[in-house]
Structure formats: C-alpha cells, structure tokens
C-alpha cells in the first residue's frame, strides 16, 4: 500500500469518502463519466489516483466506462466506476457482461430524482429495482446502500471485498444527499482493514478451466498476461469458457450458478442495522438517508409509548426476505418510507406476508421528515 493513503479523522462529503474508500480497498482503476451527483468521485480520484500510481480515465460515455472497468478487472486490477440514474441505465448491458464473465468490479450509483434527466441535484431512491433487474436475463447481484458519509467509506471497501470474493459486479446505491453531505469520517489504519483479493487458479494453464467453480460456486480467476490463454465470452459458455450457445444443459447450469452464487451465500452477504427491534410492535423498514429520519421517528414514538423499532437495510440485494419475514410475524405492522413510488416496499410486503405494511412515499428535493414517519407509525394501530 502506498503511504499516501489517508488514516485518521477527516471531514468529507459522501463522494469523497467513497473515493477514499476505493483507494484504501486497493482499487487500481477508475473509469467514469461526469454526471451529477457522482462527478465529485471522479474528480477526486482524477487527483488522487496518479498520486498512488494508479489509473484514472474519463471515458466517452458510461457504456465505455463500464466496459473499461471489466477490461481492467480482467487485467488483474480492482476496478470501479461511479454514475447516477441515467448512466446506470446505460451501463446495464455491460453490467450483464460483467455478471456473465464473472468480472469483479464496483459500480457506485449516487441516485437522483428520476426518471430520465429528472432532478439531477435532488435525492432519490428510484434505481433500487433497476439495480436487481436492470440488465436482461436472470442473474445474482449484490447491492449495498450507505446512510452516512462514514458508511460511503466503509461500504465501498465492503463492495470491493464482496465483488472480489464472489466475482460479481457489486453496486453501491447511495443517494444525492448522502453523496453531497459533509460529515466526520474516521479512516482506520490499513492494517486494521480487511481487504479481500480474488481467488487465483492453483492449476497449470493446461488443466485450468476458467469457469469451473469451487464449492462456493465461484471459479478461481486467471487474468490476462499470466499465460493461461483462457477465453471469456458474453455468450453462454461451459466451464472451458468456450461458447456453447445451443446446449440447454450448459445454459441452465451456468445461469443457475450465477444466481445461486449469490443466493447460497446470502447470509454471508446480507447486512442490516437494528434499533429497538426486540420488543418492537411496529417496525420501520428503511434505508439510506430516509433511515436517519426513521430513527428519530422511532425514538419519538417510543417517547409516545409506542413500541416502535427500526430495521435499516444495508444490503439491498440479496434482499433479507426470511429475516424480515421472521420480524413481521412478531409485529403488528411495518412502515416502509421510501423516496420513490414503492419499490423496496414490494419486497417487504412479499416477505411480511399477512403483516400489514404501510408504504410512505415521498418524491422531490426533501426526504421524509421524522414527523411524517411518526404519523405513519401512529396510523398503524
């Protein structure tokens, strides 16, 4: 690690924290394209990457950025890009390519008001379904969502570790406020941080089959220039990596593996934060900037004698369906405040089964206020 990595307390905004997180995580390649509210990540990295002898490049569009980081990943570097809604949509096809070729990489989506050009400078949580279902075909994906500047730092590192572990593109679904607000960030010294690198093949080039998975369903990854002469393709392929586009057996084995790779390891991937949940009769399920208002709402509810609790999702995908299912059984109702027209709430409803779920939608420049959430809690009775 280069000495130039930051350690100790800093006063940063979310974008800068994310950038520094990537550096600490060992990100060696960033390709991006200017888009509010994620531009600061690119600007900061364009300054910092060279200082650490690493590569920053600004591509001609988001499609190119996404393709470039897959290329860099296959050249042995940890690679990241950052964008917002419109860019995220452009990147979907190549995210699919990254999934299919199991290329570890991190995509930061600092969400803004949508759809289309929408409200570039305003917050929004309207890309969460696109994160799971954006690209065509079935596949597993990991998406984390920070609620503070510190978490922008921590979760970026976490995203790299997960993508390297499971050889899957990992998304960091922040929103404009988390990206642009300034807070204190404490950067632990490098030795304190857990940094994970991808599994390398243990066999000789003749025996190596690039997509033969280990038991965790994740194949060890050779990179370009290591003499393995392997082939990777977006076409349906078998373990040899060569296209087998007309074999249904190969298709089903591959696609199922790509899905199972995440589902089977979901418990190791999923992270949540619980507050006053053990005896809660009403649970607020929230994530991102909205969760902060939800926290104060829950506290106020407790002051008003309502046994309320907060479940803050840190992992959006894979979704903690069972966990929420269990919580739902022991509560009277669930309140889901989201800055969209109802996206994550569908998953909560599916997980909660009979337990009533009240959805609190909010669009525009202002996230939910604690009072609005409190009213919703009161309304559950």
């Amino acid at each position: 690690m280069q000495k130039k990595l930051l350690t100790g307390p800093y006063f940063l905004n979310g974008d800068l924290a994310c950038a520094e997180g990537a550096l600490v995580a060992g990100c060696g390649f960033f390709a991006g394209y200017p888009i509010t509210p994620a531009t600061e990540i690119a600007e900061h990295l364009s300054q910092r990457m060279p200082e650490l002898g690493r590569i920053y490049v600004q591509m001609e569009d988001e499609i190119a950025s996404m393709a470039a980081i897959i290329g860099a990943s296959y050249s042995g570097l940890k690679a990241m890009t950052a964008t917002s809604g419109p860019g995220f949509s452009l990147m979907q096809e190549n995210i699919g390519l990254a999934v299919m070729t199991e290329a570890p990489c991190v995509i930061v989506d600092v969400m803004r008001g949508g759809p289309s050009t929408g409200q570039p400078t305003m917050p929004g949580q309207q890309d969460v379904m696109q994160a799971k279902w954006g690209s065509h075909g079935d596949y597993g994906i990991i998406a984390l969502t920070p609620a503070s500047v510190q978490e922008m730092f921590n979760l970026t590192i976490e995203a790299f570790n997960l993508s390297e572990t499971y050889r899957v593109p990992t998304l960091l679904m922040a929103d404009e406020i988390v990206g642009h607000m300034w807070e204190k960030v404490v950067i632990p010294p490098p030795e304190k941080l857990k940094i994970v690198n991808r599994k390398k093949p243990q066999v000789s080039p003749d025996e190596y089959r690039p997509f033969q998975p280990d038991d965790d369903l994740v194949p060890p990854m050779a990179c370009f220039g290591e003499g393995y002469h392997f082939h990777a393709t977006g076409l349906t392929h078998d373990e040899s990596g060569y296209p087998k586009t007309s074999s249904s057996k190969v298709q089903s084995e591959l696609v199922n593996r790509l899905c199972q790779k995440i589902e089977k390891n979901a418990d190791k991937i999923i992270r949540c934060e619980e507050t006053m949940l053990d005896d809660a009769e009403i649970v607020v399920v929230a994530y991102g900037i909205v969760a902060r208002a939800a926290l104060s709402a829950v506290r106020k509810a407790r002051e008003n004698g309502i046994k309320a609790g907060l479940l803050r999702l840190i992992t959006l995908w894979p979704f903690p369906t069972e966990y929420i299912g269990k919580i739902a059984k022991r509560t009277h109702g669930i309140v889901v405040p989201e800055m969209n027209c109802g996206q994550m709430v569908r998953e909560v409803e599916r997980a909660a089964k009979e337990t009533p779920v009240t959805f609190l939608s909010k669009l525009g420049e202002e996230p939910h206020t604690p009072m609005e959430i409190l009213e919703a809690i009161k309304g559950v009775r």
Partner: protein, 281 residues
Amino acid sequence: MVLETAHPYSKYLRAEMMPHIWCPGCGNGIVLNCFAHALDELKFDLDKLVVVSGIGCIGRTAGYVNADSFHTTHGRALAFASGVKLANPELEVVVISGDGDLFAIGGNHFIHAARRNMGIKVLCANNLNYGMTGGQQGPTTPLESFTTTSPYGSIENPFNLVHLAAASGSTYVARWTTLHVRRLTQSIKKMLQKKGFSFVEVLAQCPEIYGRYNKMRSGLEMMSWFKRASVVENFTDPSKAEISADKIPVGEFVDVEKLSYEKMLHEKISKINERAMEMVK
C-alpha cells in the same frame, strides 16, 4: 495425407474450437489466417497477447486465437480494450471486429480511442453488411446495393473507414482486401509493432449473404471483384479512398508516430507519484 504434421499456424489457434463457424468462402477465415501468419513471422509472445472482439461473424475470432481473449458486448470491444491496455500496458491488445460492431454501435468508442491514440491495434473485417444477423444494411454498405433491410437498394452514403480512422487520429491506417494476403500480413505485422492506435481495414467477402444479394454468389466472384477493382495507392489522400463498384483504393494511408495514451498516462502517473512520495517523506 500425413496427419501428424500439424498446420504451420495451428499453434496460434485453439484446436478444440476448430473448424470455425464461418461460411464457405467467407473472408473472415483469411483475416484470421493472415493474423496468425503475422504472429508467426513476429514470433509473437502469445502470453502477452490479448484478443478482444465484439459481436458479429468476425466477433468469434477471439474464441479461435490461442491467447487471452474476450468476447465483449456489441460495439464495446474498444472501450473494454482501453481498460485492459491502461491496466497493463505490457499487454499487446488487438481488437478484431467487424464494420457494424466497430463503426455503427461502436463508432463512438472508435473515434475516441483513436482520438486518444490508445495503444490498441484494430483489425476490422469489413464485409459490407451485418453478416451474423442475416445480412442487414450496415455503415459501410455501398450505395444502391441490396441487403435484407435495403431491399430497394441502400440510399445511405457509406463510411470511408480509412478516412474516418485517419481523421480520428490513428497513427497507422491501411486497407487491403482478402486477396492481398501477403501485404495484409505485412500490414498486420507493422500494426502489431506500432506504439499508438493503429487500424487495418480488410475488405472481406461475404458471398453467402451480401454476395448472394448483389450478383456475386460465390467467394470466387467477390474475390475477382476485389482483383478487378483494387488499385494500390499508398499514402494518397485518405478522403479520396472511397470504395465503389469499379474502384477499391488499397494500401497504407497513414504511418506516423505519436505518443500513445497509456505511455503518457503512466509517465504522468510515475512523475506525480514520485512527487507525492517526496512530499510524504
């Protein structure tokens, strides 16, 4: 037939993938042949080679070359290749793709990669239409020629790829047809040794579809069109190098030296990095 002696270029091909899927008489086979021949003449270190190809008939080339290879989404080969090259400049990154992939959907990535003088070698098999999907009109389909999506004759002015590549800033631009195998091989050799962004266009016949729709049903007929019409005009004005029914200007059009993007980038990074290190001390 003595079978144990292998084909001279077999060591550059993935035996398990042979024979390839291309139609009888398709020019792509010859492009791959010349590429292998060029690698052979240069005694190329296959461990250093990365072949990237996009979507299309020629897109399958990455699968056939016995080196690290990647088959990207449609049009994105050059963007992907940029990532590979910048990440590890020691790698020799060659993009082998088609006229549709590189100049229609991938056009934006082509002109920018060329503008930046990215150290990538582009070998474009121009078969004048979208072959893989059944012969639709493409960015280089000649005026008034017939394809499945221009049944009344194409009314679009095709790209002059040589002019486009030269104008975008590539340091080496050449065009040959699949009949000029000897000079095509030399051009590929020269391209592989160039530092900056280099581009070789190969007019590759597509007798099965384009030929069928345009009165050149067999590979031989398209080859004789190449022979009749091609005129070697080295280093003439690229803007005059349009392809027409009776004239196919071929040859080397641009051969200049320009500092490549990755070289500049890594030089700048090492300078900044040193300065940063001093400041840290």
